[in-house]
Each structure stands twice: as C-alpha cells, then as structure tokens.
C-alpha cells in the first residue's frame, strides 16, 4: 500500500473490535449463568434482554451503525419497526385471550 505511515503510528484496527468481542463473551457468560439461576418468571426476559444487548453491540460497532448516515440508520430500523408491529399485533390477540 502506498503512502501509508508505518503500522505503529496508525490507530489500531484491533482495539475497539476486541473490546466489543470481550463484552460479547462476558454477556455470553452472564446469560449462561443466569439460565441456571432460579429466576423462573423472568428468565426468558433476562436471556432475551442480554441477547438484544449483544445484537445491539454487533449492529452498532461491528456493523458500524454508530458511524452510519441517517439514511442507513433508517433502513436498519425499518426492519426492526415492522418486526415490532408484527409482534405487537399478534400479542394483542394471543395475550388477551381468556
């Protein structure tokens, strides 16, 4: 590659991705431990909450939504928005049955 400074002076390409990876592994360890605790009614909520945190980290940092343009962020949120509609409208039926 031409005209680049040597690697010692460049910002590390590893630092932030490795920090996120460590956080992901820590969350994985946490969710495995939580799955064996007697937290019965909240267990699935906790494990899904941790899963969404992991997904958020991957989307924001690995997929660079934190540095994306507004257009790209809207496109990313669109799928999620329709997913919420689908779940909420289904839940209004199934969760309200006697």
């Amino acid at each position: 590659m031409s005209g680049r400074a040597d690697s010692a002076t460049q910002p590390s390409v590893w630092a932030i991705p490795i920090l996120v990876w460590l956080a992901l592994l820590a969350l994985l360890a946490l969710t495995v431990c939580a799955a064996y605790l007697p937290l019965h009614p909240f267990r699935i909520a906790i494990s899904l909450g941790i899963a969404f945190m992991k997904a958020g980290l991957i989307a924001l940092v690995f997929m660079r939504l934190n540095k994306s343009s507004t257009l790209v962020r809207i496109a990313a949120c669109a799928g999620f928005l329709w997913l919420i509609f689908m779940f909420v409208l289904t839940a209004t039926d199934y969760l309200s049955r006697p």
Binding site: M1, R4, S7, Q10, P11, V13, W14, P17, I18, V20, W21, L24, L25, L28, T31, V32, A35, Y36, R43, I44, S47, L48, I50, A51, F52, K54, A55, I58, A59, V61, F62, M63, S68, S69, L71, V72, A75, A76, A78, G79, F80, W82, L83, M86, F87, T90, Y94, L95
Partner: protein
Amino acid sequence: MAQVPADLHEPFTSRARQREAIVFALWIFLASELLLFGGLFLGYATYRLLDIRDFNEAASHTNVYFGTANTAILMTSSLAIAVAGRALESGRTKPTKIGIWLTILLGLSFLVVKGFEYREDLIEHLWPNLDFSLKPPVARIFFSFYWITTGVHACHVSVGLLLIGRLAWMAHRRVLPQNRDSVEATSLYWHLVDIIWVILYPLLYLVGR
C-alpha cells in the same frame, strides 16, 4: 480529466456515494432477512404460549454445550471479519487476509459443531417423525422450530462462507483494495447471520435449563 480511482465502479461518480448506496441496499436486504427470521420467532412465541412448561421441557433436550460453543465461535468470527474490514481501510493487507481466513475457519467450525450436534439429536430421536422420543404434543412443535430455524440459519452460514471465500479469492489475486465495498457488504451480511444466532441461542438452548 482526473484518473478514475480503481475502487470506483460504474455507475458511481464518487466513492462516498458508492459506499452509501451499497450499505443502504444491504441494510434493506438485511431488514427483509430480519422479517424472515422474525416470522419464525413469532411462530415460536405463539406456540410456546400453548403450554409453556412442556415447551421449556422440550427445550431442555437441546445440548447447551454445543449451542454455547457455537455462539462463541460465531461472535469471534464476527470480530475477525470486522478487523479484516478495518485493516483493509487502513491499507494493511496482512491483517485483512488473516481476518478473512480466520472467519472462514470459524464459520466452518460452526458448521462442524452443528453437524456433531445434529448427529446427537438424531441418535436421541429428536427429529419430529414417528420415532420422536418426547411425549407432549408441543415438544414436537418445539423441535420443528429447532430444526427449521437452525437449518435455515446454517444455510445462511453456508452462503456467507461462499461470499467470504470470494473475498479470500480476491485477496489471493491482490484485487481486494479495489473491492473494499465488497468486504463491507459481505461483513454486514455475516454480522447479521451472527445476530440471528445470538437471538436464537437463548430461545433454543437456555429456556429449558
């Protein structure tokens, strides 16, 4: 007239616009993928309400060791391809190549672990046919979701591996710097495959513990 940069392709007139168009298109595609798996997740959620206890009991028959190992493997592969993309953008080809090959290796490891897990599931008669080993009716439904979601996901991993294999081929031919947007697009797809697995993991492996 200035020379056209090697990484600028038809019909774009600037690199920034080219990158924006590719990333935008990819996210629209990823949103459709999210809705594909979202339908499966919704089916899972509604059928689970039929009988939560039996559904969770069926989930206790999945192998949490294989599931957890595969989650760690896939998250590490996401790290590898994220580093590959960032290294390419800062002009370093060696970490890029290492990242790409590591991703391929980890993706293949994921499929191998999944293969061992499927083998164990079949030995335990967890395929919902006449020999199915669990009694409750919703256990059959849980394992239908298990096979469909992990199967569709494994197809996505396989497609991702082919696409990353293409990047390795480009790196071999030394044309990767001219195709840096391909690296970004492929890694976005790979990360989404990782996200889908991260959501599947508690639903299939943790609810029954």
